[in-house]
């Protein structure tokens, strides 16, 4: 039913409709509203046969999810930022063991400096952990992706992370067609585990594997993850048929067919980019955009198909590989090795810096003119950076960078 609700609330309702057996979570901004709402449903009896476990840390949250999943229970948790880092050992284990846990990642920057705002640094930090990573561009997608995530996870016996932009999506109130219990029940069958800790048929899970077979076991994980490239669109088509709206996919092309410049991005910024694409099209620029929904496994063929006719690809990403540049851009460039299309990296929106239509338009005008630097930092305050660089070269004991920058910013404002 269409209603005007907070993104977090819609995700909580969608997850609850998936009838998880165990929800274990530790609160961290900006995912707190989601687990808070699920906890309230458990307490009030709206979510029967579900145990909500208040764990003592994120490491415990993922560890409990692993235990629950291994005993054949549908398990869910949510986290963000430093919370994800704190559970990272267990995050790798969940994937390595092949346990179909679903986790919401309310994307947020990673410190230092301390920052609670949105970017994709947290998701990138676990990019190689073996989880399937889906990125929602709207709250409708965020709610819907969770329902599809359980199907995907359980069919592949792999964990799925649904990434949604912290605050920008989690705290936005907008119209969302929240999946109903009846719809979800018809779409998502009860969990049938591939492996289960069962006293009646004892097995052990989590063997030590030496050099004789480690590569093979990891290869099998990789091969299984790649199956998602077929399965995501398949489940997405079934979802569309059942729910009457677009389901999950690998990529989302927008006005790319004849586009000379294609902007590639993930998450909620795609909405802003679509506005910019329409505006620049009116001004005569041949531009389109390509949203990446499935980031891991990376849909190289779909990206290549969408970009190979373009004159250039501009990857706008809310992440920075320190000492190199783009993360998504690197994957995009690899996908294009056989059809060389120049790839420009635009790092934008770090730590919650707003990505405005005006800045995107200016950047794309430069891209069309061929003057955009191969690695561009959108709206970087060059004078602030230069002043600190000068200070550092003038003084051996120049002091803490973040404090110096903030002090200068306060003086100039």
């Amino acid at each position: 039913m269409l209603s005007q609700v907070e993104g977090s609330r819609a995700v909580a309702d969608a997850v609850a409709a998936c009838r998880p057996g165990v929800v274990c979570a530790y609160p961290i901004t900006p995912q707190t509203h989601i687990v808070e709402a699920i906890g309230a449903k458990v307490k009030s009896g709206q979510l029967p046969d579900c145990e909500f476990i208040n764990v003592e840390s994120e490491f415990a949250a993922m560890s409990v999810a692993i235990g629950a999943s291994a005993t054949g229970v549908r398990a869910y948790t949510a986290t963000a930022s430093q919370g994800l880092l704190f559970m990272i050992e267990a995050v790798y284990n969940a994937a390595g063991l092949g346990l179909p846990i679903v986790m919401t990642l309310a994307n947020r920057a990673i410190g230092a400096p301390i920052n609670i705002w949105n970017d994709h640094s947290d998701a990138m930090a676990v990019r190689d952990a073996g989880w399937i990573q889906l990125f929602a561009s709207t709250n409708q997608e965020a709610a819907d992706l969770h329902v599809q995530a359980f199907r995907l996870a359980e069919e592949l016996s792999l964990p799925v992370m649904v990434c949604m932009d912290g605050f920008v999506l989690t705290h936005a109130v907008e119209e969302i067609d929240v999946p109903t219990q009846a719809e979800v029940d018809a779409f998502l069958p009860p969990y049938k585990p591939r492996q289960v800790l069962d006293p009646a048929e004892p097995v052990s899970i989590g063997a030590m594997v030496g050099p004789e077979a480690f590569e093979e076991v990891r290869y099998l994980l990789h091969a299984r993850a790649l199956q998602a490239l077929d399965l995501v669109p398949e489940i997405g088509r079934e979802f569309a048929a059942a729910f009457g709206r677009t389901g999950a996919g690998l990529v989302q092309p927008y006005r790319t067919d004849d586009a000379e410049i294609i902007v590639v991005a993930m998450g909620s910024v795609l909405g802003t980019i679509a506005e910019v694409v329409d505006e620049l099209r009116l001004q005569g620029m041949s531009v389109g955009s390509l949203g990446i929904t499935t980031f891991r496994p990376f849909p190289a063929a779909a990206v290549r198909d969408a970009l190979q006719g373009a004159r250039s690809a501009v990857v706008v990403e809310k992440a920075l590989s320190i000492g190199f540049g783009g993360v998504l851009a690197t994957d995009v460039a690899m996908a294009l090795t056989a059809h060389p299309v120049p790839v420009t990296t635009v790092v934008a929106g770090l730590g919650g810096r707003p990505i405005t239509e005006a800045s995107l338009e200016r950047m794309l005008v430069e891209a069309e003119a061929g003057t955009l630097a191969p690695l561009t930092f959108l709206d970087l305050d060059r004078s602030l950076v230069d002043a600190e660089l000068a200070r550092m070269s003038a003084n051996r004991r120049s002091g803490p960078v973040a404090e110096n920058v903030l002090r200068r910013l306060m003086r100039t404002n």
């Binding site: 005007q4 609670i116 949105n118 705290h171 109130v173 907008e174 679509a274 919650g352 405005t356």
Partner: protein, 192 residues
């Protein structure tokens, strides 16, 4: 697209006001998007929240930099926070104050600025000085972007019992009051 920025202090219901406006617009059959300014909010600290209203799907996620209306829930923010940032000459400014617009000591008063005693209306109808519902009623009268019916329904969806009825009554009183003011000042949507 009609864009509103709400200013207030933590604990006064600023974020709730933006959310309620979006629900009211939704109930009127329009598209709306409400979001807070994201930060580590503390009780009493300046808070900003936003709402977009449109007849078509809202895709942008950028912050609102050129609002069509600014609602100020706390008069102590005047000249301390840049309340007029990005405000066009045609934009509305609605301030919660029992004094007139000339008496709130703004350095610069935009043309379409009004004050309304929202906290007093709330105290009368709700028993607590939480001005959001009264301000939303006033905003409905001033801009015509949402109906009073929808504001009242949004309030009743969000709250229950006497709190819902008190807020709905405050919204109605705010609407009536601003509708009267609008006839006097010669700007605003509700003129009939």
């Amino acid at each position: 697209m009609f864009q509103v920025r709400f200013h207030g202090r933590g604990g006064q219901g600023v974020v709730t006001a933006a959310e309620l406006l979006s629900v009211a617009a939704f109930l009127d059959g329009r598209h709306a998007q409400a979001f807070p300014s994201f930060g580590s909010e503390r009780t009493g600290a300046p808070v900003v929240a936003f709402c977009r209203i449109s007849d078509s799907t809202i895709r942008t996620r950028a912050p609102i930099d050129a609002p069509d209306a600014v609602v100020v829930g706390d008069v102590t923010l005047i000249n301390r926070v840049d309340l007029l940032a990005g405000l066009s000459p045609e934009a509305y400014l609605l301030i919660n104050s029992s004094r007139g617009i000339a008496e709130v000591n703004m350095d610069e008063v935009p043309r379409r600025a009004l004050t309304m005693p929202a906290s007093e209306l709330a105290r009368t109808h709700l028993g607590r000085p939480l001005p959001s519902a009264a301000l939303l009623g006033g905003l409905a009268a001033l801009t015509g972007e949402v109906s009073l019916d929808a504001v009242e329904s949004a309030v009743r969806q969000r709250f229950s019992g006497t709190v819902a009825e008190g807020n709905a009554a405050a919204a109605g009183a705010g609407y009536e009051l601003v509708a009267t003011l609008v006839r006097e000042v010669g700007f605003g949507a509700v003129t009939g």
